[in-house]
Every structure is written in C-alpha cells, then in structure tokens.
C-alpha cells in the first residue's frame, strides 16, 4: 500500500463508526491513556467543492457518538480538524502502512505545521482540549490500520 492508496473510504460515516468500534472494543488500550470528555469534528474538503463532516463524541474511554454533520455544525464541537480529503487520505494511508501514524503524519504534527490539516475551535479552550486528549485521538485514528485489515 502506498502513501496515496485510497482503498479506505475515509469520507464515509461508516469508516468513523468502524474506528469508534475499534476503540470501544479495546478498553485496555484506552484506559491507560485516560478519560476523555470532548466532541471533535473532522472536515474533509473534497475536490468537487463539497466537504464531508463528521463529529465524534468521546466520553470516558469510549467514543459513543459518531455522526455526519452539516456545513457549519463543526463550530458546535469543542474543536474541529479541517483539511483537503487528499491530506486525510495520506494520513490514513500512513497509518495503514505503518500500523500507526509515523513521522509528520501524526495528527499533532499535521496540525502543528498547519499547512495541510488545521485545528480550529470557536473557543481557545476547545482547541486546548485537542492537546489535552491528543494521544487518545491519535490512538483512535491509528485504529484505521485494524479497520483496513478487517475482512470485508
């Protein structure tokens, strides 16, 4: 699988439901990272001009809310991550290839430089939540490796 492989349909709500299922099925892994209280939205801008938007709601060591949301609804989340679909695909391809995000494809790296995926929040404290729970978010995203490997 190469960095541009797009076999994973990351701009689909079922993909994020699968990531949440991976997280919820592995409490041991997430318990050591600690509880989370955060809603986070992801915005993937498609080349066609529209965008896919998903909101994830974390509670404790579970991701219990996965919903596709409409334009502008990301502002209701504590924070949101926004980038072109191709950059999201590259990030997930890196995860699938390595079993986890490595190098500058971690979500913290991508948002730190901010030239591809950016972090936003209507409130700076919402953005700070992204930093407070960063490793849990990364672990959830890293679940893409298991999702890709799953049959079907």
């Amino acid at each position: 699988m190469t960095a541009t492989d797009t076999r994973l349909e990351v701009d689909r709500i079922r993909f994020f439901e699968a990531l949440a299922d991976e997280m919820n099925a592995d409490p041991t892994r997430f318990e050591v990272l600690g509880d989370v209280d955060m809603s986070i939205a992801l915005v993937m801008r498609r080349p066609t001009g529209d965008a896919f938007r998903a909101q994830l709601v974390f509670d404790g060591i579970r991701c219990d809310g996965v919903d596709e949301i409409g334009e502008g609804d990301e502002r209701q989340a504590h924070c949101w991550l926004e980038g072109d679909l191709a950059d999201w695909q590259a990030m997930f391809a890196n995860i699938v290839e390595n079993g986890r995000a490595v190098g500058r494809q971690t979500i913290n790296s991508l948002t730190l430089v901010g030239d591809r995926i950016t972090v936003h929040g209507a409130d700076p404290l919402g953005v700070d939540r992204f930093f407070r729970y960063n490793q849990t978010v990364q672990a959830l995203l890293d679940g893409a490796a298991a999702v890709a490997a799953a049959p079907g």
């Binding site: 990272l33 936003h120 930093f131 960063n134």
Partner: protein
C-alpha cells in the same frame, strides 16, 4: 440508607468509657450537616462532579471560617484559625477545576515505565547536544510550576478544596516533567548542559508575584502556554520516537494546567473586575522576561538545530520553521488571554509586527 437520627435515638448509650472518661455521641445523634445525600456514580465511577451535590457542592464566595474542616461538615465552634489569606473564591477558582482534577488523575503516566527508553539510538553529536540543552532548560523551568502552587496552596481557604486538589495534580505532573527531561538528558550518553540567567530570572518573577492571581497569570497563562507550544513542537524536533513520546505525554498535562489558569483568570476578572489591571501589570513584565528567555541564543539555537535535524540546515530550515512556529505560539497566547477576559492585543509589548501579526486584524478564535 440509615434514617435521620431523631432526638431520642441512641438515648441509652453510655456517657463514659470504662475508664470514666466522657464520651461524645453527637456525630451519631444528629449533626448540623446534610445527611442522606447519596450521589450516584457516573459511567466513569464516582467523580468529584458526582459528589458536588446538595450543600456539599456549594462553594461559598467568601467562607465564614478559615479552618481545614471538610466543606459541608458540622464544625465545632470555636475552631482554630488556619490563617488562610486567599479567602475569596475568585482568587483561586475556575469553573472547570473539578473536571480537570478528575482528568489529571485519570491521565497520569510514569516517566520510568511509559517511555520506551530502550529504543534510544545513538544520534549525531550536534543533535544529541541540542536535545540535551533543551532538556536542561525544560528540567529547570518545569519545576517552577510545582514550587509555585506549593507556595500558595497552604494559604488557600480549605473550602476551595477542589482547586487545591487540582494543584496537587499539577505538582505531581511537573515533578514528572522535571524527572523525564532530566532522564532524557542523561540517558543517551549526553548530559545536562547550560542553565542561563534569563531562565532563572523568569522563574524568580513568577515565584515572587505578589498575589496568587498574578502568579497564575505568569505561570499558567504565559509560562505554561509557552512551554505547551514547545511540547507541541516535540513532533517536529524529536530525533526519535522516545522524545516524541515524552513530548506528547507532557503536552497533555501542560494543556490541563493552561486550561485551569485560563478559566481561573476569567473567573477572577468576572467576579472582581479590578483584578484585571493587576493581571495586565504582571503580564506586561512577564512578557518582556519571557521574550528574553524565548530569544536567548542557546535555547533558540538548540531548538532550531532540532527543527533542522542538525546544524548544517539551521539557516535554510531551522530558523524559518522556528519563526513560523513563533507566530502560532503568540497567537495561541493572545487567544487564551482573550478567553480569560484580558485583551492583550493592543497592550502587549511583544513584537507582533516582527512576526507579521497585525493587532488590528487579529481575531482571537483559533
């Protein structure tokens, strides 16, 4: 659930012990506190938010006593005065403090066990020196965020228990940060390098602040905000996964401290608007000292070396990336100030223009 004691309940209990000393059954016969409160655990267990119910959840703006008695209990009169000087809720409180305490407890980690020390690799000499210099700086500055709460906590009215509990977690966090950076400096065959006067000057400014709220503005908002951004940079400056892991874990802790400070200052300003000028004055001074620290040649060269992956690319990669990240650092700080109810954009003496930040067009939302 036991019923509330009635006046004649337990009427026949002995009045003295076998040695003839008087016994006190007042705790059993009914005390002047709330009985029958039974908070229910949430999905995460029994949290501090869950038990903040009834009178036990009410934090007074100005507690009538200065005692260490647990808030909500029946306090014997007279009771010794503990001499607290922070007796207004606005002086220490933040509305997120219970949640932050629970989060801190749930997200503790071990610098001994949770860092893959065995994966350290031999690094180029300049890179090893640079990471050791950065770790020397961080090991020094992190401990101030333990010393400072310790200085003030015993002066805080005990009715503000949750704030004190949160600060206890901060002290533990900072001890661990000081530990982990010390360990990293030593663990790969390098060592502790230079400690510069400017860094110590900043620490002294924070420790000597006249009020806790001034100290909090210097430490939580300014100092820890600055360090939080260095930790975020960890992704870019870490030569190996070992350092990345260190910075990622420390980042999460630091963001909690910043979140407490930001909302503490907001609470303070909302409940006592006069305190805003006091905070501004502290930040006027603190920003200048921090700028000296942030621009001290040893720290900037070490950071730029790490950003560039070595000294050979420092001018083409290290310094440009450092400038780019400095803009993020300052805009994050200014946004947090706004959230705290403090408009620093027009007042700050930080060289915003040098970094291309226009005060007239700056918007605080990230």
């Amino acid at each position: 659930m036991t019923n509330v004691a009635t006046p004649d309940a337990y009427a026949n209990l002995p009045e003295t012990n076998p040695l003839g000393f008087p016994l006190d059954w007042s705790w059993l016969r009914g005390s002047k506190s709330e009985w029958g409160v039974q908070p229910k655990p949430s999905s995460r267990g029994l949290t501090m938010m869950d038990i903040a119910v009834g009178a036990y959840g009410e934090v007074p703006d100005e507690p009538p006593r200065r005692t260490m008695a647990p808030r909500g209990c029946d306090i014997e009169d007279p009771t010794p005065d503990m001499g607290y000087i922070l007796n207004k809720k606005s002086q220490v409180w933040s509305d997120n403090v219970r949640e932050l305490y629970e989060e801190a407890v749930a997200r503790q980690w071990s610098a001994t066990r949770d860092i893959p020390w065995g994966e350290l690799q031999e690094l180029p000499d300049d890179v090893e020196h640079a990471i050791c210099q950065l770790c020397t700086f961080l090991s020094e500055v992190e401990m101030i965020a333990a010393d400072l709460p310790a200085k003030w906590m015993w002066r805080m009215n005990h009715d503000f228990l949750e704030a004190k509990m949160f600060l206890c977690t901060q002290i533990m966090d900072e001890a661990r940060h000081s530990e982990v950076f010390r360990k990293r400096a030593l663990a790969n065959g390098g060592g502790l390098l230079k400690s510069k006067a400017a860094g110590t000057e900043l620490l002294r400014s924070i420790l000597q602040a006249k009020t806790y709220t001034q100290a909090s503005s210097l430490m939580h908002l300014l100092g820890e905000g600055f360090v939080l951004d260095i930790f975020r940079m960890g992704e870019l400056i870490s030569p190996t996964d070992v350092e990345k892991r260190i910075f990622r874990m420390a980042m999460q802790d630091e963001a909690r401290h910043v979140a407490y400070g930001t909302l503490h200052l907001r609470y303070a300003v909302e409940h006592d608007p006069d305190v805003a000028e006091e905070i501004h004055e502290a930040l006027d001074h603190g920003e200048m000292v921090l700028m000296e620290v942030g621009t001290q040649p040893d720290l900037t060269t070490a950071l730029a070396t790490l950003l560039a992956g070595g000294v050979e690319n420092i001018e083409t990669e290290g310094f440009p990336l450092q400038s780019q990240l400095s803009v993020k650092l300052l805009t994050s700080y200014l946004a947090r100030c706004e959230r705290a109810g403090l408009n620093r954009v027009q007042r700050t003496l930080l060289p915003l223009d040098l970094l291309g930040i226009d005060p007239d067009t700056f918007t605080p939302a990230a």
